[in-house]
Amino acid sequence: MNRFKSIKRLLKDFRIIICGLFILLLALTAIFAPIIAPHSFSQMNTLDRFSGPGPEFLLGTDEFGRDILSRLIHGARLTLIISLGAVAISSVIGTLAGLIAGYSGGWTENILMRLMDALFSFPPFLLAIFVIVFLGPSVINLILTIGLLYIPRFARIAHSSTLLVKELEYVEAAQALGASIPRIIGRHILPNIFAPIMVQMSLTLGAAVLLESGLSFLGLGPPPPTPSWGRMVQQSARFMQMSPYGIIWPSVIISLTVLSFNIFADAVRDNLDPRLRQ
């Protein structure tokens, strides 16, 4: 009953509707990319270079005469796979680490959380560049690297929430009844710290999209011909004076995607946090 109510409350917020729809649309585009894309993403065409938006190429073509729309659609696939993969890794490992640290306390907590602090102290972009240069750019490596970088975000939130929740009566009651530790953590603590973690997931998705685009922009993204938004911006930047479309569309899509994830996260937090609710 309670769960149903909170979903209903979320759906009343227009920010969640708009951003949610955009994200849903992006996800569907990514899944059905080969069906939706009007052209091949790699087909080059000498005669159609730098064309502006028109009936044949809806958003225009780039310096190799490739259809920008088709490249954006296939790029969505890549960006979402990398971001979702990274967030899956960081949220699972991070939350688990935070829960264990928060619940057990003592040395375990100390070691786990100082490890997270160490990881957190690196500027994420620099660390990502370092790791990618070392491992070589590939989709798997990007997922692992970005995933690793965002583990502390989840660990910290799970840790602090666990510290609060584990003092509550129902946890004590479970302990008194002799419930096993995994059961206490899984059945009693995790569901009650899930809201802030969900908010963090949405925020981190936005950050991951930005980081992936940034790395691709620097030439550390997946190798061609796989289209990636960041690489599209980088390649087209040299031709800005000849045709601005190659740089405008991917930049707009990157901004919209990051913005959607961030606003979505904000709205979810506003609605689920009792203190922020009027």
């Binding site: 087909q43 310096e63 190799f64 190798p223 011909p225 040299r238 031709f239 004076q241």
Partner: protein
């Protein structure tokens, strides 16, 4: 009434505008003025016998002179030597120009030539041409203005050595006094270095005692490094500089219309195939690659169609050894490629194992590679892209650690003998040595070509060389990529050297003058 005045004024102005450019065509060179030149990077050093790269020749070449130099047609003309003759096949006699002075006033004589050759021969100098000069049989001064140089065996490329940058003549007295050539300068050239600061302005002034009467026209020449391509172009457009080198091709059309653009072909783009690695261990597969790739499309997409593919596999247009017969020898032919693959045992392109494609992360290589990758994949081959640093690409040339590598090369001189340093089994330090490429007939031809002096005979030899290279297909032969300098229209007298010698454009500023009537 007012309208009439306006109309008259407009007509007058238009007439003036129409007449004015017409007068420029017949303008005589004017002396005086300053040329500000935007260069790619800091010149690093001044030692006239060390190769610091093309950008540095604009410093070295305007301060120093060589014995002979290339003219506007890429042929030899006298510089510090007025003329020369051969005695037999191996002995050259050079007659030196009289009355030439170094910047410090010391007269130039045969003693300076001998001291220069000695300095290059000295391993301590670390000179770029050390090997060539150390390999001479003998050189001596006959009198103050005559020098005799004797080779060990006939060598058709010897004069190119003498005309090349890094063989500039320095003063015997400076060598004796232990001058630091890397930081101090004293040449016979048109300009004298007045002041400089690293990454800042390099200021040159006119040499009043220059040996060419009335030259140079310019009073001052200032070179300023701009590393970023777009910044350099913008510096020209805004008027901060009057001339720039390394113009990115995206700006060719605009600069050609609004400014003066000087294009030339000096750098070659090709793709190395490692014949030790599958599937390129089969000659037919290597040949097929050359028939799959559409060079013109690659040039159109990667360089906007600027550049040159016409010239057989490896000679630039304008070269004396350009082989008309080979024009179009490498046009794409997918049917033929299919047949060749079938001969190699692959019934369809999909049966060929995936090919790893090594590409350096700079646009001049990665743009070309992206087009070629698409062409190969459209044909049905599987290509896996591997990004590397430029330094790795260069290392790979000698280590052979690649299957297929996007690469480029430049020519030190227009003689086709440069192919020896790629494809001769022992001298091929730039390719053969890395992948153990060996073709006995090619080796023979290279050695014969070096010893043959007669032009027609040599041309026939190098025709066979190029045919053999197409047959062996150690590379996917692509195109000469475009290079250009651009100048404000007021800059006159800039000349380009044809046949892949564009790097010598930048050491000929003695002919440049500024036309004040152009704004």
């Amino acid at each position: 009434m007012k309208r009439n005045v306006l109309l008259t004024l407009t007509v007058l102005l238009l007439t003036a505008a129409l007449l004015f450019p017409a007068t420029q065509v017949f303008a005589e060179p004017q002396s005086g003025g300053t040329l500000r030149f935007g260069i790619l990077r800091d010149p690093e050093g001044f030692d006239p016998h060390i190769n610091y790269g093309t950008t540095s020749t604009a410093v070295q070449g305007n301060i120093y002179d060589t014995l002979i130099e290339y003219d506007e047609n890429g042929e030899f003309r006298g510089a510090l030597a007025t003329d020369w003759e051969m005695e037999g096949d191996q002995t050259y006699i050079f007659h030196l120009r009289e009355g030439v002075e170094f910047h410090d006033g010391t007269p130039f004589t045969s003693e300076d030539v001998i001291a220069t050759l000695d300095r290059i021969k000295d391993p301590e100098t670390n000179a770029a041409r050390h090997g060539r000069i150390a390999g001479l049989f003998n050189y001596e001064a006959i009198d103050d203005y005559t020098v005799r140089i004797v080779l060990r065996e006939p060598d058709a490329t010897f004069l190119h050595d003498l005309a090349s940058f890094t063989l500039y003549i320095v003063s015997a007295r400076d060598i004796e006094n232990g001058m630091n050539f890397n930081r101090e300068t004293n040449g016979t050239g048109a300009f004298m270095l007045e002041s400089w600061e690293p990454e800042g302005e390099y200021v040159f002034v006119r040499n009043p005692n220059y040996w060419q009467e009335g030259l140079p026209y310019l009073d001052r020449l200032i070179q300023i490094p701009f590393q970023d391509d777009q910044t350099r172009v913008n510096a020209l457009i805004s008027g901060e500089v009057d001339l720039i080198e390394y113009v990115p091709w995206q700006d060719f059309d605009y600069l050609d219309a609004e400014f003066s653009l000087f294009t030339h072909e000096s750098l070659y783009n090709g793709i190395r195939l490692n014949h030790n690695r599958e599937p390129f261990d089969q000659k037919e597969v290597r040949q097929a690659m050359n028939y799959i790739v559409d060079q013109q499309m690659a040039l159109d997409l990667a360089f906007g169609g600027h550049g040159d593919i016409k010239s057989g596999p490896l000679q630039p247009a304008g070269s004396l050894f350009y082989q008309d017969e080979l024009e179009g020898a490498l046009l794409p032919d997918h049917e033929k490629a299919m047949e060749l693959l079938a001969e190699a045992g692959y019934n369809s392109p999909a049966e060929v194992p995936p090919i790893e494609f090594t590409v350096a992360a700079i646009a001049v290589h990665s743009d070309t590679a992206e087009v070629v990758q698409e062409q190969l994949q459209a044909f049905g081959l599987r290509v896996n892209w591997r990004t590397v640093e430029v330094s790795t690409m260069i290392e790979n040339r000698t280590s052979g650690a690649y299957v297929m590598q996007q690469d480029g090369l430049s020519m030190a001189n227009p003689d086709p003998d440069y192919l020896r340093f790629l494809f001769h089994s022992r001298d091929g330090s730039n390719h053969s040595v890395g992948v153990n490429f060996e073709n006995e007939r090619l080796d023979e031809l290279f050695e014969e070509g070096l010893k043959t002096i007669d032009y027609d005979e040599r041309k026939a030899i190098y025709l066979e060389v190029e045919k053999l290279l197409i047959e062996e297909s150690p590379w996917i032969f692509l195109f000469w990529r475009p290079q250009a300098e651009a100048a404000h229209p007021k800059v006159q007298g800039y000349t380009t050297v044809p046949g892949g010698l564009g790097m010598y454009n930048l050491s000929r500023f003695n002919q440049i003058w500024i036309d004040d009537s152009v704004q």
